[in-house]
Symmetry: C2
Subunit: 223 residues, 2 copies
Amino acid sequence: MSSVTPAADGDPAARPLRKDAERNRARILAAAREVFAAQGLDAGFDEVARVAGVGVGTVYRRFPERRDLVEALFQEEVDAVVARAEEAAADPDPWRGLVGFLHWGAEAQAADRGLAQVLAAAGRGHERVASGRDRLAPAVDALVRHAQRAGVLRPDVSGLDIGIAVAMVGRVGGPDRARLRERYVTLVLDGLCLRRDAPTPLPQVAVGEDDLACVVEPVRRPR
Amino acid sequence: MSSVTPAADGDPAARPLRKDAERNRARILAAAREVFAAQGLDAGFDEVARVAGVGVGTVYRRFPERRDLVEALFQEEVDAVVARAEEAAADPDPWRGLVGFLHWGAEAQAADRGLAQVLAAAGRGHERVASGRDRLAPAVDALVRHAQRAGVLRPDVSGLDIGIAVAMVGRVGGPDRARLRERYVTLVLDGLCLRRDAPTPLPQVAVGEDDLACVVEPVRRPR
DNA sequence: GTGGAAACGGAAGACCTGCTCCACTTAGCT
DNA sequence: AGCTAAGTGGAGCAGGTCTTCCGTTTCCAC
């Protein structure tokens, strides 16, 4: 979660960075991970620089475009999602695998705004992060097919549906609304299963009359 | 949808506006409805003024705070949602009423970013729009109880759950993704019903390999 | 028609944000 | 140690948005 590719930055022919530059690069990546998770992918570079303890100029020199930073960061985060999907697909109980993946995915996206945005961009086929989708889609598709062949998942849904469902639920609520998200994952899963006689019990949520800060986050306005 | 309270603006003791002022006020409200629907509640006042064909100063004089404008606008929009919920609750077939309300609500929120934000704020208990929730919550609760008493809706969900579900699905996709939203409303409804033997058929969506612009919209960063 | 209060509009100032640039510092080689 | 190229940081500029302010226009009561 915090290891960083040491030097070779895509182009293996590039001369290695100086030691201090490499150290700062790592600091910037760590800071960006933190800031992007909290504020989303268009957080100010100033903030990233402040958290990293370097000047803005340094951030811009190392990552001239925002995409460069995002790309460097989320390669590994996407890997984590792919790994989790494969793990879920390997579960001997296919339904349990699917359930686990949905819960985990919703929580991961809720905890990290940047991740949510990257996955959305990957789904949308954005050039630079498209490689993310190319790895992600097969993994989720495999999970879906696995559950469908076992006859527990309805046959008319695709991996894309699962991705969108995770994204939808992941947008619900603030940081401490984990219970609420579990509730909606359970609800969606009751819609995803092939058939059922009774509803799956939902996690109870105690919301006070004036403590309904649990709604879906507002959309952002386009630039 | 386009009628506007002529003069009495909250305070009945206020002297009536001059005729031109009243005309401009109506123009501003119409423009704001359009602009807020497209761009969300924090669209620039400049844009509202431009669309209304008045100067920015006029907008600021009539509505010194953004909240004043939002409040004046969405009183009636919330009324429309309440009316739709009551209509749905009055349906002799309670399940059909619920299905119709979810489809309508998701589409309404997708078509109007401003409405989505206001409903979110209302759910969150925001002071000025709190009155909206006070009217909305009972209407949706009645719809839910109606369906539950008829034994078609699972008993462990509340009106709030319905509101959040509508909001979640309403965030999916862009303007022409109505089909996709229908798909997820159907899926959620299959999770909401008391029991079912087979999945409800989902509306088919044809998405090309690189036309996956169907993901949930990104979250916005806080000010 | 006239006087004066109300309303108008948009230029201008305050502010905020993304990015560049260059005088200075530092690592690493000899 | 001394030299040089690589690296640094933050002041400052450009471009954008929000809000105010005041000279001009419009309405309406008389």
